[in-house]
Amino acid sequence: MLRVRKPGLLTTVQDLGRPNAMSAGVPPGGAMDRFAHSAANLLAGNEEGAATLECTVSGPALVALQPCLVAITGADFDPLVNGRPAPMWTSVILGPDDQLSFAGRRSGARAYIAVAGGIAGDRWLGSFSTNLLAQRGGFHGRPLIAGDLIAVASRPARRAPGASQSAPAISRQLNRDLRPAYADHMLPAIAGPHITRLPAESRKALFGSAYTVGRDADRMGYRLEGHSLDASGDELLSFGLVAGALQVPRSGQPILLMADHQTAGGYPVVATLAGAAMPIAAQLLPGDELSFVEVSIEAALRMRAAQRAALDSLKAD
């Protein structure tokens, strides 16, 4: 069990979401950076779908009430254990009364904390993910606040490396070269259903010019600012949307849909991020620059496979 001493700016319980609830209009939700979420779980000896803490912009201060194995991944908020630098992408053992805190954001937007056994939370429509709009799931449907007690869901599903009582505590790490290239904001994207609406000049701007993440950027999506895209044409009938879709409303300033995206809409979708680019998109904050690079489905699937292999490397004993 962990006690929340400071909650951080926005710390919520997340897992891999509730895709089955999309037909009721409920956002799929789940961790914004699924790679970091899954890696944290695997480093802590959990299944990838166990609940973790998603910490936005600033990290919490947590006190371990019992010994536990944790892993911190994603954005670099300069993690500390009892005030001393703690490694990221590494399994770390906390003893009783040890404090995990964060000195401050160095890069990225969202850090993940996994605890061996998984974070316990409310299950809503098949997932522990916190849905802030519906105020359901995770920790009573809300972000953590000071004084909250976070329970562990179960005994670790897999024997955590270094966590067994007999073996010495040898921590496991995800090598730097296997982590997402978070600093590279050239995001691979696949042309979308309504790409043909764009005149040549708009298409060139979409795949080439720089966009800035606007102030309106949250778990639902990011409004982008940059070259205006002309996707005008007949009004579209609403259709099912996906995370990573780049919608163009009539203003011409695109919106990138993220984990808590609306499940259907009628604005043209001119491109969709490669799945492998979503972890990088998840680490962007207002003011950050990004651009889109057109790739084929095959190229996107190769990137996906590389990320999969990186995660699978954590499963090997």
């Binding site: 956002p27 979708v269 489905i297």
Partner: protein
């Protein structure tokens, strides 16, 4: 003699590397929507499909890239779509009271050149079909809206629309179940709860249901 009805060619477009959009048509049409709902149901039974969400006249299909490809799934979708859809049961009927005093009523009346009372009267005439549930939890896309009320969406969506707002856009109408961003024109409000978070499914409307609005006093 009427021409034999040809089977519509389904067009598929990638939505990233693990999803696609299968378009059956581009009209607000009950028959097309019935086919889309049936196609989504058939696709959900496939092992290589993770999720299939019917739109007005389309299906968004999330697939497992380890088990299928965009091209293979397109072939399978065309085969499934060519089958005659099953007879659909008439959906449940919901009667919804509306106070027609929305913040956009005056502007809508001005653009359409109709008095507000007439807009309310036209809006309450049809029995609408719930074409799909989506956008936000519990939202039902209802239609077809009578042609007299057809308007494009707002140029800039509102960042917050109050829950219970009754809205129109294009040939569609709907009710905002929660305070959310929205780009539709707000003509009224209702006290009926559309999002039922403690039920499963957590919504009043289901695709295929029918809705009749009636004017209620403020």
């Amino acid at each position: 003699m009427p021409a034999p009805r040809s089977t519509t060619k389904v067009r598929t477009h990638p939505l990233g590397d693990t999803a696609l959009l299968a378009e059956l048509g581009t009209r607000v049409d009950t028959a097309l929507n019935t086919r889309a709902i049936a196609l989504a149901a058939a696709l959900k039974k496939r092992r290589d499909v993770r999720q299939a969400i019917a739109g007005y006249a389309s299906v968004t299909v999330h697939f497992d890239p380890d088990q299928t490809t965009h091209a293979a799934l397109t072939t399978a979708i065309r085969r499934l779509a060519s089958k005659r859809p099953p007879m659909s049961e008439p959906g449940r009927l919901h009667r919804i009271p509306v106070v027609y005093d929305g913040p956009d009523m005056e502007a809508v009346a001005a653009v359409l050149g109709l008095p507000a009372a007439m807009i309310a009267e036209i809006h309450t005439r049809p029995i609408y079909r719930v074409f799909l549930v989506g956008f936000v939890p519990g939202w039902g896309y209802l239609g077809p809206l009578p042609e007299e009320l057809e308007l494009p969406r707002r140029e800039v969506p509102r960042t917050k629309v109050p829950a219970g707002s009754v809205a129109i856009a294009a040939r569609q109408t709907g009710i905002y179940p929660l305070a959310t961003p929205g780009g539709w024109h707000l003509i009224g409000r209702t006290s009926v709860k559309l999002f039922l978070p403690d039920s499963d499914p957590p919504c009043l409307f289901r695709a295929g249901d029918r809705v009749k609005f009636f004017a209620a006093p403020a």
